[in-house]
Each structure stands twice: as structure tokens, then as C-alpha cells.
Symmetry: C2
Subunit: 229 residues, 2 copies
DNA sequence: ACACTACTGCCATAAACTGTCAGCAGGTGC
DNA sequence: GCACCTGCTGACAGTTTATGGCAGTAGTGT
């Protein structure tokens, strides 16, 4: 049983580094010989981990995560499936695709009878969200993840166009539209931006000076929104 | 590595039987000695599997499923999380709770930085579904899973009350209401029942004579709905 | 009382894992 | 070309772990 744990530790260690890490470094960190480390890496790759090793450079783990074995109840699986379905319908194409992929991965490992259940027990027929986003939603999500400043050209409900620098920290999925929540440098306050009204958007490499979760908390307090589940 | 696979096989074998199975039977089926089987069961239980063993009876696996280790991309995790959030908001309390539980399980094993991302990158602020269901939705889902006939007292949009026997095979989650799709013995056709208009409901132990997935397919064909992802 | 079962401890054997050593391959810098 | 760093593979002995058989305890249903 010690081995399985070590492999998970190794994965998390690999995730910590963004730059390539040498096998020797990983070996000392996990307290194991170099030879064994190579074997461990091979095991992880065999299990599907996206680890790339290049001679003279080191190892990099492609962004993502390996879930350890986990037990889900019947209803929890139904919830995951129903949720993924909803995402596959309601989110923008790229995230929707990810939802469908996740769903397929889960369905692939379920026993036959359960897969059948899943294919019928939960349907989503809600009108497909049709508002077309001009904005690049994956780019917004990435900016949120990495806490980067966005350069925004935005047309509000009255048609007035403005250019702003904003600090995006959340993206909300409403029934018909999606709204980016950000701190606006122009207004020095929180602002909501409907993604279908974003005319142009330039992600920058500049990190904004505050932490995303703090911004989120302050915004929630201001809005009177209780913290999420 | 053979051991991990054997444990998964053992789980699936356990799932196949509905009745308690003796350890000896499981041992021969997985090709292992009885002593080792006991150790394997202990391992699975240590990993969180809901296996119950009773002396003189055998082993039973509580309904549910253990996901093997799986790799998810960043976006797939975001999709799963966003979807679970939506379920936690939009579904009826019990399924919503399951969504929250699933979310918590996933969050618990994610590395810290990713957990932070998840706590802010996707929010759902859509108006909480407020229509109160008089119907017992978990019971409906169970009837669907097990293909049981439901005895229904239903009030339609004009207030006319009727009593019917129906064969439920799907449950759709719309924005404001939930709709059970079933074959109605009274009308000899497919009918949709808003769950908030179900006045009374009696699950029976009688299995309906057709297969759920076939009903679903016929209904889809009749409605002109393309098959789900 | 009896049959059946889960469960535990012990121990010898079998299998797997691990570390050390050696060597090959690919890329970088001198 | 040469030294150097790195990934990667094979072979072998030592160590650890897993396994199977055996004996024994205890709970359940007939």
C-alpha cells in the first residue's frame, strides 16, 4: 500500500513545479532511488498520467489532475452526470466539450447496468442557451485562474462603449447569459460584464495585485451573497 | 499492479450479485485463496468501499461505485465542478445534497491551488428553483432505476385530477420545473408529468413489462429529439 | 447441535519491489 | 570532438510485501 501513496505524492510534487524537474530531484524528494523513480514514472504514465520526460531537461506534468480511486454513491454519480450534462448544454463550446469528455470518461468505467441508468435517468431539455458570445470564454477562465489583468472594450445596455482594465475573478453562468465579475480600475469598484456585450478583449501577462479569493469574498460581502457550498 | 486490478474486479463482481455472496465464492471467482480474499475485502473497506460482511450470510456491496484512478484535464474538472454546483442549486434537496457531497469529495483530493481555483472560477447565481415539489423525487428516480410501475394522482393545468398507472423512464430538469416522462397506461401513450402537480404517488413493486431504454428511444423518436451525448 | 460464514493470527513460500551498477541515447555548452 | 546533464533500460541481489495453508474464535440461521 505504500507504493500507491508514493505515486500520488509524486504526482502532487510534479504539479508543484511548473518548470521541468530532474528525476534525481524527484527521487530525493520522494525518498527513493533514481532507478525506482524511473519505474514510478513509468507506472504513472501507464495509468494515464500526462508526464513528459525529455533528455537533458527533466519531467513536466501537463496541467490536469489525476483523481485517486474514490467511492461514489448512486445519487452522487447521478448528480455528477446530470451536472456534466447541463454543462455540456449550457456552457460555451469549449467548456461544454470538457463536460462531455468528463462524462464520457466516467461512463466508460461504469458497469453496464449503471451506464444504462445514467443514459436515461437524467435528461436536460432546457432551451439551449443561444446568446452568442463574442468573447473568448476560455481566455477569461484562464485570466481568472492566473489572476491576470484584462483589457476590455465593452458596450453596456445603453450601447455606450468604454475601454477598461479589469481584474476578473469570477464567471457566473445564468440561464441565458454569462457574466464576468471583475474589479474595474476605471470605476474603482466591482462591475459585472455580460460576456455577450464584450466587444474586444486583450489578455495581458500582468498579474493583478490582489488575490482572487479575497476579491471574491469582498464582492460577496458587498452583494450580500452567502458563501458558496 | 496486478493487485489493484484484482480489487476492481472484486468490486464489480460484488456489484453483479444483489444477494449476499460468500467469501469462498468470491475467492474462487477472482482466482485467489480465501485468506487473501479477506485481506482484499479489508483493503477495499480501508479505501472507502461500502462492503458489509455478516457471519453466516456473506458480503453485500451497498449500491454505489468506486471510480478507478482517472486523469482529468483542468477544464474537465471545471466542468465537473460547475455541473455539481448547478445540481446543488437546481435539483431537489436530496439530489442537490448528493451533488454537494460529490463536489466535496472531489475538492478534498485536489491540490490546494486547484481547490482555490475551483472555489471562485465558477459560480451559479441563477435564481434558485423555488417551485416546491409535492412529489417524492428520490422515489421517482428509484422507480426509474428499477423500472417499477407508479400509481399516480395528478392534477393537470386545468385542475382536472386523474388517477393513473404509469411507467416512468426519465426525469427532465428544466429551468423552473421538473418533468417526469412516462408511459401512461390510461392514455396508452407517452405523457409528461410536472412533478409539482403530482398530488399523490404510490410506488409499487411491480416491474413494468418493457425496458426503460427502449421506452426512452421510442419517446425520443416520437418527439424528434436527437439522442443525448 | 449443526452447517455455514466472517474474521484473525501465525508462518513458510512465492512474488514483487527496491537499490546498485552498468550501459545507451539525446541534447547542450565548450 | 569532448565533457556534461538528463532520460531510459537491463541485470542482479537483497529486502519487502503478498500469498496460501492451517488453526482457531465468533456470530448467524436451520
Amino acid at each position: 500500500m505504500a507504493r500507491a501513496e508514493r505515486l500520488l505524492t509524486l504526482l502532487q510534487t510534479l504539479r508543484r513545479y511548473r518548470r521541468p524537474v530532474s528525476g534525481a530531484a524527484l527521487a530525493t524528494e520522494t525518498g527513493v532511488s533514481l532507478r525506482t523513480l524511473y519505474r514510478d514514472i513509468a507506472s504513472l504514465q501507464a495509468q494515464g498520467a500526462d508526464i513528459e520526460g525529455e533528455a537533458g531537461v527533466g519531467y513536466v506534468l501537463k496541467p490536469g489532475f489525476m483523481l485517486p480511486p474514490m467511492m461514489f454513491s448512486q445519487e452522487e454519480i447521478e448528480a455528477l452526470v446530470l451536472g456534466s450534462r447541463w454543462v455540456a448544454r449550457a456552457a460555451e463550446p469549449r467548456l461544454a466539450g470538457a463536460g462531455a469528455d468528463a462524462l464520457a470518461k466516467i461512463a466508460a468505467v461504469l458497469p453496464d447496468d449503471m451506464r444504462e441508468t445514467i443514459e436515461s435517468a437524467a435528461l436536460l431539455v432546457g432551451p439551449r442557451v443561444s446568446s452568442e458570445d463574442k468573447a473568448d470564454l476560455p481566455a477569461i477562465r484562464k485570466a481568472i485562474r492566473t489572476e491576470r489583468i484584462l483589457e476590455l472594450t465593452y458596450g453596456d445596455e445603453r450601447g455606450a462603449v468604454s475601454v477598461r482594465r479589469v481584474w476578473p475573478f469570477a464567471l457566473t453562468y445564468l440561464e441565458q447569459v454569462r457574466v464576468m465579475v471583475a474589479w474595474c480600475e476605471l470605476r474603482q469598484d466591482f462591475r459585472h460584464f455580460r460576456t455577450d456585450r464584450i466587444i474586444e478583449m486583450a489578455p495581458s501577462e500582468v498579474r493583478y495585485p490582489r488575490r482572487r479569493d479575497v476579491l471574491l469574498k469582498e464582492w460577496r460581502d458587498q452583494q450580500g451573497i452567502p458563501s458558496e457550498p
